[in-house]
């Protein structure tokens, strides 16, 4: 379970370019829930995700994961609880290492790393089995360098890596935004499958309202650093993109003017 309480983050405080990105954000995600997060540019989606992962430290507020206070922990100290897939396909994997070495790194996420061999025969066999789920033929390319793979392939492997070890929360930061539509659809479908089979607690940031409603069981919308919409259950089941836009206008009393959100 994730419990974010009154999170505040300000970039460049006390300067003319001061930017209050998170302004008292509250969100509780119960165990096993798949939440999609939407919001216009600058709403604080990525900042919120980075605060949960520990890449950014919050100025105020607390973050608890399964009851543990992780507010002051650095990213590497939270990695036993948090798994993530980055927006940039190049960011989630190490291109100088081979596919199997990348997976061996993820296999030890948040655990002690000793002087034993990072790759064993049984571990390779296990990775091969996992990679075959992707149906990309990567199970025969274990010793290929990650840099040889396309963005979509790398993102698919990133997803697999994030699910190798159990996590308390899986963070997906617009992880299909940099892919072409076909590959994006493939990675999304894979995401849904992995989250479902692993019964994972997950939070997916997306730019597309369509995606936000089609995936997961709850959708929250961020605006100016706060949660302004939170729909789930029956209310969400019957919802379409225009309904979501309408709801936004009603609560805010203003029109949503982000082309990207409207067009998606």
């Amino acid at each position: 379970m994730l419990h974010a309480k009154a999170l505040e983050i300000t970039f460049n405080p006390g300067t003319p370019i001061e930017n209050r990105v998170l302004r008292g954000l509250d969100l509780k995600i119960p165990t096993g829930q798949f939440v999609t997060v939407i919001g216009s540019n600058g709403a604080g989606k990525s900042t919120f995700l980075n605060a949960v992962s520990g890449d950014l430290m919050v100025d105020r507020g607390t973050i608890h994961i399964d009851g543990e206070d992780v507010t002051r922990r650095a990213a590497w100290q939270r990695s036993d609880l948090v798994a993530r897939v980055f927006q940039d396909p190049m960011a989630g994997t190490c291109e100088a290492l081979t596919i199997e070495e990348n997976m061996a790194l993820a296999w030890k996420r948040g655990a002690r790393r000793g002087f034993g061999f990072s790759l064993t025969r049984s571990l390779r066999e296990f990775f091969r089995e996992k990679l075959s789920i992707l149906e990309l033929g990567l199970e025969n390319r274990l010793a290929d360098r990650m840099g040889l793979l396309s963005g979509g392939q790398r993102q698919a492997v990133s997803l697999l890596m994030a699910s190798l070890q159990p996590s308390r929360i899986l963070l997906l930061d617009e992880h299909t935004a940099a892919l072409d539509p076909k590959t994006a659809a493939f990675v999304l479908e894979l995401t849904a499958r992995i989250v479902e089979t692993g019964k994972l607690t997950a939070m997916m940031v997306t730019h597309s309202m369509r995606q936000a409603l089609d995936f997961g069981s709850r959708t929250v919308m961020l605006h100016e650093g706060r949660v302004i919409l939170d729909v789930k259950g029956e209310e969400r089941a019957g919802m379409d993109v225009p309904d979501l836009l309408h709801m936004f206008q009603k609560t805010r009393g203003e029109k949503l003017d982000d082309d990207k959100l409207l067009l998606a």
């Binding site: 990695s79 960011a91 190490c94 290492l97 948040g110 061999f117 033929g137 396309s150």
Partner: protein, 309 residues
């Protein structure tokens, strides 16, 4: 070039093979341009020489030299990760400071080891002549270090260090403290370089305060030459290439300086070094200009085929 001169070149080449491995670790593995090397090489030499003269066992003295080198690398990394001083500047600061420290350690600008016991004299057996014994002992040490390094790189801890240089953000997301990896990595790198310094003074018969000048250039030259003649398929090959690069480098230098018809003298060493490194840097570019051989066709996956379009 005579046999003894060739063996002499190989001997120094093997010593600089250790420097090359250290430089490879900092520059390539953890992606940290570390110039501490110019100070940690003479530091290793100074500590070993001073302790041997003070009556220490040469092996213990060499061990102390390794520890001193590790400490200097640690200090450079600490200045960078804790005090946020730029990498290059942090290493230059430690390098400069080490000049004074080396003078303090030796107590004078040079120490002669001509009649002192060394790791080589202690390992002498069956009256084997020095010019054979030294390269053999050094070869054994370098092979041991290379194999240990290969095993380390293949371990979980070694993989964490490689990820730190390759993609620090991803490494942190996997639970790796990149700060800690940098501290250990530079300590290990400079420990290797100090070991080379300690062996250098024992093989050459003395330590000198100016012996460190240009160590980083030689180390980098060795890495670049090695990578050029033996393009990496795996790390095991690359570490071999580093050592091979160092030996070849010293060999070419000796060849150039010993060939009377070229007319080069000892004082031309740095010029020859620069020309050699420039040449090694150009070769990969020339190779690219040649008509490229097509890589063997891979089994194309459905998605790769889709994306190739």
């Amino acid at each position: 070039m005579s046999l003894i001169a060739s063996l002499g070149a190989i001997e120094i080449g093997l010593i600089f093979g250790l420097v090359a491995l250290g430089v490879y670790l900092s520059f390539r593995i953890i992606n940290f341009p570390d110039l501490t090397v110019d100070g940690s090489f003479p530091l290793g030499g100074a500590v070993a020489a001073a302790l041997i003269v003070a009556g220490w066992n040469p092996f213990a003295a060499t061990g102390a030299a390794i520890a001193a080198g590790a400490l200097s690398g640690w200090l450079t990394a600490w200045l960078n990760v804790r005090l946020r001083i730029m990498q290059l500047l942090a290493s230059i600061l430690v390098m400069i400071a080490l000049y004074s420290i080396n003078l303090r350690v030796m107590g004078k600008p040079n120490i002669a080891l001509i009649d002192e016991p060394t790791v080589f004299s202690m390992l002498a057996f069956g009256g084997m002549p020095d010019y054979l014994l030294k390269p053999l002992v050094l070869l054994a040490i370098v092979v041991l270090v290379k194999v240990l390094l290969d095993l380390f790189f293949a371990s979980e801890a070694g993989l964490a260090m490689r990820a730190t240089g390759g993609n620090p953000r991803m490494a942190r997301a996997q639970g790796i403290s990149t700060d800690r990896q940098t501290l250990w990595g530079l300590a290990l790198s400079n420990a290797l370089v100090a070991l080379a310094g300690a062996l250098f003074v024992q093989s050459q018969g003395g330590a000198d305060i100016s012996m460190g000048i240009g160590t980083i250039v030689v180390g980098l030259a060795a890495v670049i030459i090695g990578e050029t003649i033996l393009p990496a398929r795996s790390l095991v090959v690359t570490t071999l290439a580093c050592v091979l690069g160092a030996v070849l480098y010293r060999f070419f230098i000796a060849l150039a300086l010993n060939s009377d018809f070229i007319g080069l003298k000892a004082q031309d060493l740095n010029l020859v070094t620069a020309v050699l490194v420039a040449f090694a840097l150009l070769v990969p570019a020339w190779k690219r200009k040649l008509p490229a051989r097509r890589p063997a066709a891979r089994t194309v996956s459905p998605m790769a085929a889709k994306e190739a379009r």
